[in-house]
């Protein structure tokens, strides 16, 4: 696992998002499930219960993929990265509307954007050999 950047990033991000998802429930008592104004995690990141569940699901997916293998980690990182990029872009356009069902605030955008960049880039740039190989392969090095 330690020799594949995709598995390292997927494992770390997965664990962090699982933790963030769990901690989120501590600040969302009394917040509506899809409330557009959420509780503040670490006094900074706005979350609501749906946002917490999304964090848990994403964390679990990244972690499972990281433990499954390089191909799975690469796919999961790329997919989650593009979803986060999309959320980062769309988030600015749905502010102060009922569509902001994840209670996104500016701090969320920073975190989502940084996550998206790391996940997309590691998926596209690292472990390139795994894309060319049809079979499961040994972890390949960073470029």
């Amino acid at each position: 696992m330690s020799s594949s950047p995709n598995r390292i990033v997927g494992g770390i991000f997965g664990a962090v998002y699982l933790l963030v998802g769990l901690l989120g429930f501590a600040v969302t008592g009394g917040v509506g499930f899809i409330a557009t104004k959420g509780g503040l995690l670490l006094g900074l990141f706005a979350v609501n219960p749906l946002h917490n569940i999304v964090h848990l699901l994403i964390g679990a997916a990244l972690l499972l993929a990281a433990f499954s293998g390089v191909r799975a980690a690469k796919g999961a990182n790329g997919t989650v990265g593009f979803v986060y990029l999309l959320v980062g872009i769309v988030g600015f356009f749905i502010a102060d509307t009922a569509a902001n069902i994840l209670a996104l605030n500016t701090a969320d955008h920073v975190l989502h954007l940084a996550s998206a960049l790391v996940l997309i880039v590691v998926s596209l740039a690292a472990d390139r050999a795994v894309s060319a190989s049809p079979t499961r392969m040994a972890p390949s090095p960073a470029p």
């Binding site: 409330a35 104004k37 503040l40 706005a46 872009i89 605030n105 880039v121």
Partner: protein
């Protein structure tokens, strides 16, 4: 590879700023900006897949023109000073990295295969550091774009209610 990583990350950042600027502009400005943003995203993905700067001469020229474009948008009031700084800075860095790649290509027409460092941990650290810098530069620019300024008041705490 670090230069390719940086220029690709910067490409993503530029594309996001252009998208936000387009969202707050009229259709005549929005369409070319969105086309430019799409080109940046495509170029960044291609560079990452290739593992080198794609079309460095074109990238250098476009990035240099983009710095002027950012200045023009600042003067005409399409963007504010912070988005201008972010856009110009990221574009300038892409131009610089592309120019270095171009110069290297001229110096070594047949690239000498270099032994790839098998240090995924270092790669991940460099990537995370560069992504944080790009997002730290990009986010204030996004927040100070028209849709971003509209976005700022939301997401407040319910604590105390």
């Amino acid at each position: 590879m670090n230069g390719t990583l940086w220029s690709s990350l910067a490409g993503f950042g530029i594309a996001l700023i252009l998208c936000a600027t387009a969202a707050g502009s009229g259709i005549a400005i929005a369409v070319p900006l969105l086309l430019l943003a799409t080109a940046h995203l495509t170029w960044a993905v291609v560079a990452l897949r290739l593992g080198r700067i794609a079309t460095p001469r074109l990238a250098c020229a476009v990035a240099a023109v983009e710095v002027l474009l950012a200045g023009g948008m600042l003067i005409t009031g399409v963007i504010g000073f912070v988005p201008f700084l972010a856009l110009a800075g990221l574009s300038w860095s892409v131009a610089a990295v592309s120019a270095v790649a171009l110069r290297r290509a001229h110096r070594d027409p047949v690239p000498v295969p270099r032994s790839r460092a098998r240090r995924p941990g270092v790669f991940v650290l460099v990537l995370v550091a560069q992504a944080l810098v790009v997002s730290a530069v990009t986010t204030p620019a996004l927040a100070l774009s028209t849709p971003g300024e509209f976005a700022l008041p939301h997401g407040e705490s319910h604590q105390g209610h």
